[in-house]
Amino acid sequence: MKPVKFEYHAPATVDEALALLGRYGGEAKILAGGQSLMPLMNFRLSRPAALIDLNRIASLAYIREDDGHLAFGAMTRQRTVEFSPVVAQRLPLLREATRWVGHLPIRSRGTIGGSIAHADPAAEYPAVLTALDGEVRVRGPRGERVLKASDLFVTYLTTRLEPDEILTEVRLPAMPAGAGHAFEEFARRHGDFAIVGIAAMVVRDGGRCRQARLATAGAGPVPVRLRAAEEILERDGLGDRAIEAATARAAELVSPDADIHASADYRRHLTRVLAARALRRAAGPGARRG
């Protein structure tokens, strides 16, 4: 047995789960898909006094269309997202990003809510949430609140959720009809954590770019929305010169750290290269001139 001893609870409702969280006063961990938490526990890097397993709460697994948004129950499996027709139609960027999350057997268990609450800066879903200006619903003993992507991520593995709160829903605005998108990532092997990843969406309007969205994974302690680069595209369009200017700006907007996988300079370089690839693909053929 690899993990330390812990007390195990598998509540049937969110209310029960919240009561248990309160009882342990910050010493319990929420178990969602477990694809990040269980490795940490097997290494004994994480030693919670108790696990509160959300896998028996059926009401936390759903995908709903709601007022121009797609709402995902926190326990919706990544595999369900990958094969969902409504996601393919309304949020193709999320679908593409999902194929970069680990491997299929990891996505069988991993959840959208768990990935976002875990807040690994190299993970794909936080980058998509940031690019598309999504939000999460959170429940706690003081009721429910909504956190926007731009307010959610604090630093490595840390969000603004309080220890007695549970992330219950992820909400993403459906992409506008005709929007182009791309998720580009570099890792040493397919399925490894990104050294850098880029989520991109563009809405073209003739030769112009009505809306551009760019966000990073792996290029700093939290996902970064590259707003100043987006503004260049919204002003100058999606031609080669505009993409070059925007991605040069993108590399200035990130402050990556160095680790055993890559230097900070290399990550900055990747931000520029991958953002350019993502934008060219998102813009589609015919947007290259000018």
Partner: protein, 160 residues
């Protein structure tokens, strides 16, 4: 409750019941409590894929799931692939195409490939390689494994 918990589950069509600590990993439960040692323990942190089994029809890592979480689940392990003394077509293809050397990763390779071929019955070679990147093999260089999965795909598609 750090005390033992009861786990009831079906493995390869046979019902089992056992008692274990909540911290017992599913792979250890299969191997130690049910004596099903075909599923291998490799890295024990969800990277190498050797412990991959089917849980309620989909491939997942049994080293990063607790046995208690599998209560009520239907599991298929490598021991469940042979039918009536005959190798499963995927197993036969691995033998035919030299898809294994030391055999350590093979249970994970087979269960991963089985799930993948259900999702994608007519894969391209790059798609097979991407799917098999879920399992680490240190002997074969993957060539034989890729060939075996490609050869098994039409056989399995015909059976479905």
């Amino acid at each position: 409750m750090a005390e033992p918990v009861t786990v009831r589950l079906t493995v390869n069509g046979v019902g089992h019941e056992g008692r274990c600590e909540p911290r017992k990993l599913l792979v250890d439960f299969l191997r130690e409590d049910l004596a099903l040692t075909g599923t291998h323990v490799g890295c024990e942190h969800g990277i190498c894929g050797a412990c991959t089994v089917l849980i309620d029809g989909v491939a997942a890592r049994s080293c990063i799931m607790l046995a208690v979480q599998a209560d009520g689940a239907e599991i298929v392990t490598i021991e469940g692939l042979m039918q009536d003394g005959a190798l499963h077509p995927l197993q036969a293809a691995f033998r035919e195409h030299h898809g294994l050397q030391c055999g350590f990763c093979t249970p994970g390779m087979l269960m991963t490939a089985l799930d993948f071929l259900r999702v994608n019955p007519t894969p391209t070679e790059p798609e097979i390689r991407e799917a098999l990147s879920a399992v680490l093999c240190r002997c074969t260089g993957y060539h034989g494994i890729v060939k075996a999965v490609a050869a098994a795909a039409p056989v399995l598609a015909k059976r479905a």
